[in-house]
Amino acid sequence: MLGLLALVAGGMVLLIVWYLFSNALPVIEAGRLAAFFTDSLWQPRSQRDPQFGVVSMLVASFLVTLLAVALALPVGLAGAVFHRFYAPPVLERWNRRMLELLIGVPSVVFGFWGLMVIVPLIVRLAPHTSGQSLLAASIVLGLMILPIIALTSQAALQAVPPAQLQAAAGLGMGRARTIWSVALPAAKGGIGAGVLLALARAIGETMAVVLVCGNIPQIPKSLFDGIRPVTSTIALEMGYATASHKALLFCAALILVLFTALLVGWLSFRKVESDPGTGGA
């Protein structure tokens, strides 16, 4: 029974992938899959010259995710260390409540806030740009995944056996040294799992990103260039798409899911290989 329930979650993923695949089938059958990687532009509705280049969007999806994690990881991890080792318990409890609240904020609210607050700030920084850019999307996404990284890191640090920390203290290590050489290495597995979760969450995020990324299908040359991740394209076009266009969008979604699976698979595989002893969470 328990196993059956456990299988439901995994099974759902397969069902969704199957749904994507069956809807993308017309494109695959027509042998147009290669065009997704060889075309340079995305203009599926053009009569003159239809093109389905998805590479710039994949690049955008992964770039914005990577930047978001790069922004959120130091902040989240530093916060977790502070709460575990420095903060008084009252502060720790309240801050955790706030982080949990942050997870519950609807993504469209994040997007609107980004458009009204972050974008004008970026325009002040780079006055000749639109402000809706890779940077804006990374900041908004980074904020959205910050609580995931912070909370999982806190849990991982909490799970480090007190005996290890006491042993470190017994050896005469200072607090900073204990954190750096004992607590963090022991919690590495749990923190890594949190980052992986945040990564997958960020790649799939749609509503917040579509409002602040500019939606220009191009490979960005700077942080201030507009980008169009795969999810934004789907959000912008799915409701308006007719049959063949819809199949193209499903195909783009399928490609994103497969790439994400590859990335997540590769990262977790590397993790297991590099530190077999400290699985953690």
Binding site: R45, F112, P127, G131, V210, I216
Partner: protein, 261 residues
């Protein structure tokens, strides 16, 4: 999204439910009309969903929707299977930030801006600031209407920002005052009146007002229509007759559109 219409309603007499899908510009009018209509006709339910004109056309043809909302003229091919009834007229106007000193742009100036021949507001007597071009995403009828007016293909337009909704255009202008965009006059007028710091600017010297749309002098206009196919249920027919009547004109005017019946 269209699927919710059926699950949300538990009634058995499906003839009493009228489903409309299509242009997001028309939907707010229909929602208001439907409220009043449902009060006057107990037992009838009107479901309204957006998704763009193309969606409205596809849903009406496939039977997912009883009636469609289309905010552009049907193509010849579409008109073979569908009939469109005008309920109102709308204009598509250019919007700028309130702080932008420019009040009028000609067709040629719009072409120069949207093809990036001119990239600085100073070329039009504005401040020394880079123009940020906001364009609509594929499938929006405002895009088609605007491109039709300036005579450009979508591939000719060099946009800095691509957005889906009228409100996203307006919010982009608010968040970056150097942005230029175009939206439905109805939406822009409602927002400007509500205190959003944008302005509707004149095109070829003609002010973007509902009066000028009504008189036909404003150059970028489009019809707001309700479409039906050959198989329309009696309940939908009755609602369509109501939409075609002058009884809804006060609601149309409240939304800053121009009644035509």
């Amino acid at each position: 999204m269209a699927a919710f219409a059926f699950t949300a309603c538990g009634k058995k007499e499906s003839g009493d439910v009228v489903v409309l899908t299509g242009a997001s510009t028309i939907a707010p009018i229909i929602v208001d009309v439907a409220k009043r209509y449902e009060e006057a006709h107990p037992g009838v339910r009107i479901e309204v969903q957006t998704g763009g004109t193309s969606r409205g056309i596809a849903d009406t043809l496939s039977g997912v929707a009883d009636l469609g909302m289309a905010s552009r003229v049907l193509t010849d091919e579409e008109a073979e299977k569908l009939t469109a009834y005008r309920i109102a007229a709308d204009g598509v106007c250019v919007v700028l930030h309130k702080d932008n000193p420019i009040n009028d742009l000609s067709k040629q100036q719009l072409i120069d801006i949207y093809t990036k021949k001119e990239t600085n507001w100073s070329a039009f007597g504005g401040p020394d600031a880079t123009i940020v071009v906001a364009n609509k995403a594929d499938g929006r009828s405002t895009l088609e209407v605007f491109l039709g007016f300036v005579g450009l293909d979508k591939a000719d337009v060099k946009a800095d920002v691509v957005v889906g909704e009228n409100l996203h255009v307006i919010n982009s202008v608010v968040s970056n005052p150097n942005t230029i965009g175009y939206v439905s006059i109805g939406t822009a007028a409602t927002e400007a009146q509500g205190g959003t710091p944008i302005k509707l600017i004149a095109t070829d010297g003609i002010a973007a007002t509902t009066e000028n749309v009504a008189s036909g002098t404003f150059p970028i206009t489009r019809p707001l229509t309700i479409i039906e196919d050959a198989e329309t249920s009696p309940a939908a027919k009755a609602f369509l007759d109501h939409l075609k009547s002058a009884e809804i004109n006060d609601i149309i005017e409240k939304h800053f559109f121009v009644p035509v019946n």
